[in-house]
Symmetry: C2
């Protein structure tokens, strides 16, 4: 007999990996643990479970049903946490709307996801009222007046807390297929319309399980039930990196800060004893500035940093103010966490030797298969130097861009999710992001990192800003061109740029193809809406005339 | 549009939760980490992956295929670790044979699982040779001569290391359904034939993920990549509590000790720097005794204890010798881990206040839904005192006893797996096992713990041993009877027994139904093969005559 599959007895429970099951152990072990929203409300995990039931009953009363998209426009709140559970647990899809997009983009994402019920914070009610004529799918808008006491506008069906208070806490949640979609949201692409990703129940549970405590070294700080958690990455942005699910699953005290304001965040931290948060480098910089202004130390606050590179300067600054900072890596398409850093295995326990490891994006978390490949999908050596595109497999990656088959095919070319990030990796799995694929210069069959060239050039005297991009070249494919904004009243010579790059080539740090034979001087470099140098615009400006001249 | 299920793009990788995927991150992060088997062999994770490929190729050469049962009879070894991966990764089923069963029982388990290939340590080759005529399914026996240099007997197809050395390392492992059976083994029931449980790939992966680092409190010791792991619970017994899978997934150094011998275990610990192990209380006692004899301290050795209750005496003894001890809970039917203890949330950081929490069986790990219920499946209060049967749901419980539908139905009555353990639990989820269901005395509709009565009586002067069992009673259902073995030349009076129980009743620690009105005096109590008091035999001796007399 071949025993390939079991024959479960009738009553054996076929356990689906659904979001609701993340509450089971939490309710048994942390029923009286606290959840706090600003100065407005404070309740227990037992209350959370009741409120999840009430929210589901209330939404069902508004016509919510399996498979329906229900959109949330809110700052970080207890309401968002309730929606993270209640909406997927009903079999509906939670759309987490990026409220920082333009009104047109917000309208697009709501239309595209075919949201039928909207939960809207008072700050966004005027916008939503304006957009409603263009949103024919919307059946009901629920106002979240945020404890202001203001009445909900008449175009809404009522106020969140009032409607929930009147609803029954015992909504009959049922089991269903773990592959049902739980969440959807749009990536804020800089070109064209935002793209929608989606994640299933199974994916959210597996992301939480694998990422719940991956810090790895017994002597290093972990994330545990005695932590106090406060997100400082928006809950509309990739599930606030999955941490609200993890914190809830473990039964950790949670603090939700509403709209981010550095002073209010520091006040909450001090009052509630926050010990674990996550944010992007810009926010960390702001928090450190505010703390310095107040003469406040941030002892014992662990901060997981992602979104962009964590510089050693910022790392050191944060440590000097008492924080424990680590970097992680992921993207909207990956739910998000793929890797997290940790001390190296042979760490000597000295906190001053941590920066090298902790400012990389770290090592793949369990179940992540990560490869670093060239354009032909051949693996590049794990020598800490060779670079290639990071491609990954994990049980929690978006299976597609919704309604965008060409984009989906490109994302999953060859059966691996393409991150578009150029990284190096080493024998202990530590990865460092070197560049974005679109910014890499492909010359003579080699990849040249624009970031590496920029770092060399910006260190020259008289250089205010620099951007290096690839200009089309008949013979080489592309050739690097440096666009330089000198300091006011100064000039930068091509010869000086060449010297510094030649030196790097002769030290073996750069390929000979990286030599620059053209610079352009400008007054200042164009920026995107979030303050990054707009390489797309630069490339257009630079290459169109060149192409025309060929 | 209802967005119930995603439409993955063609090439999106549908990630199955299969055992092989636990190697992915480990190989990227710990390729040069070590695996050690006694004095015999030492290799890296990279080598492990090659050897897994070779083992699969070798087994395929012997006719192994998907769904086939391949049985392992070995002590804890690198071979066992290789088999944990290679056999399930081929789609075959690994049967981990309990080599401590009687020859008849071993024959039964091999027949019952229809094992077709046997991997047999030299110690068990004579036994297997004897049994072979009764094992018509067996196609090949592979000898594991354990580096002795002895030739494999002629009834085998060859020696493990030799056969593997000649095989190709690049076996083409393919993906398949995560619900395929990965492992099977038999529980050592004291009555009737052993019962077979089984676990799927998905279950083993989820068990590993949920249990990988559940120690919970940031200030307490966890399990990390800088640990050195050595099992001291046999690998044939419920996957050595799942730890070899977890250690491999995290990339931890592993040490396999072969057949357990206290002196050799302590030698290996010292030489390899072992920091994490697990065992039953009896083994812990032996290790402590051996260490004391050698005048050796066991500093920094974390020991997870399960199988039977961890007494505070043993806990304190182990701590006094430098160990960090915690208790866990599970059973063959549960893969095994359901709960693990940890410091309480409000732990003050003082290591001397840990015993209370750490000697309970702890709290449910993530995704475990645990209920404590009466006979009608009604929940009993989480007050730390009320008792009921522990019933559980988790994504890693056996779906049946193979080929035993009545047993399977009883196991899963009401859609919850019945542990047969009587426990209390409290508001923080801490559970304490009070008794086995079969040993509880049901009198006047109340459950009386035989263990509670035994603990009171054994403390009386002149009592050497005592066992309390339920005797059938027409009016009350059952009534407790104490069978007492007095110290040599002494006697114990019923009146003294009554007094101590009356006192406990008046203190509110016991129900009035617990009053004893009958004792039996014997020279000594009958024991099972593993040294436990044989209540089944006692019950037979006691109740049959009583029944006849009624």
């Amino acid at each position: 007999m071949a025993l390939r599959f079991a024959q479960p007895t009738n009553e054996a429970y076929a356990y689906p990996l659904t979001v609701g099951h993340m509450l089971d152990a939490a309710l048994a072990t942390a029923g009286d643990q606290e959840i706090v929203y600003r100065d407005n409300i404070r309740y227990t995990y037992r209350d959370l479970r009741h409120r999840i039931g009430k929210l589901a009953s209330m939404l069902a009363g508004q016509g919510a049903q399996e498979g329906m998209t229900i959109a949330m426009l809110d700052w970080d709140s207890h309401r968002y946490l309730e929606a993270y559970f209640a909406i997927p647990m009903m079999g509906a899809v939670l759309q987490t709307v990026n409220v920082r997009l333009s009104p047109q983009q917000i309208a697009y994402t709501l239309q595209h996801a075919q949201a039928e019920i909207l939960l809207v914070h008072a700050d966004f009610l005027p916008l939503v009222e304006e957009l409603l004529p263009d949103l024919p799918d919307v059946k009901a808008v629920i106002a979240m007046m945020d404890f202001s006491g203001d009445p909900p506008p008449s175009f809404t069906v009522g106020e969140y807390e009032d409607l929930c208070a009147a609803a029954a806490p015992d909504y009959p949640f049922a089991d269903f297929d773990e592959n049902a979609v739980a969440t959807t949201f749009h990536t804020s692409g800089t070109t064209g319309n935002p793209k929608a990703v989606l994640f299933t129940h199974r994916q959210l549970v597996l992301h939480a399980l694998s990422n719940k405590a991956p810090f790895g070294v017994t002597r290093a700080r972990g994330f545990g039930i005695d932590d106090v958690y406060m997100p400082i990455t928006p809950m509309f942005h990739v599930h606030a990196w999955g941490m609200p699910y993890i914190a809830t699953m473990l039964g950790v005290k949670q603090v939700y800060p509403g709209r981010y304001d550095p002073a209010a965040l520091l006040d909450l931290r001090a009052r509630e004893g926050v010990t674990f948060s996550h944010c992007v480098p810009t926010i960390l910089q702001m928090l450190l500035g505010e703390a310095e202004k107040r003469g406040e130390r941030l002892n014992g606050w662990m901060m997981m940093v992602g979104g962009s590179a964590l510089s050693t300067t910022l790392f050191d600054q944060a440590r000097a103010q008492g924080m424990y900072v680590i970097a992680g890596y992921g993207m909207s398409e990956t739910s998000p966490r793929i890797s997290l850093t940790r001390p190296r295995r042979d760490w000597d326990g000295n906190e001053n030797t941590l920066a090298d490891a902790l400012t990389t994006v770290g090592v793949p978390v369990p179940l992540v298969a990560a490869r670093v490949v060239d354009e032909q999908m051949r693996d590049v050596p794990a020598d800490g130097v060779s670079t290639g595109e990071l491609v990954v497999r994990a049980p929690w990656l978006t299976p597609c861009y919704v309604g965008d088959e060409p984009g989906s095919q490109a994302l999953w070319r060859g059966g691996w999710l393409h991150t578009q990030d150029i990284v190096s990796h080493d024998g202990e799995g530590f990865m460092a992001v070197r560049d974005r694929l679109k910014d890499v210069i492909k010359s003579g069959g080699e990849w040249i990192s624009s970031v590496a060239l920029e770092n060399l050039i910006v260190a020259l005297p008289n250089v205010a800003e620099v951007s290096v991009i690839g200009a089309p070249d008949e013979k080489w494919g592309e050739r690097p061109v440096a666009i330089i904004a000198p300091l006011p009243g100064k000039t930068v010579a091509l010869a000086d740029v060449r010297t510094v790059i030649d030196d790097a080539v002769s030290r073996g740090e750069l390929s000979g193809y990286a030599r620059i034979d053209r610079i352009e001087t400008v007054d200042s470099l164009p920026k995107t809406s979030v303050g990054k140098i707009d390489k797309k615009l630069l490339r257009e400006r630079l290459t169109l005339p060149s192409k025309a001249a060929q």
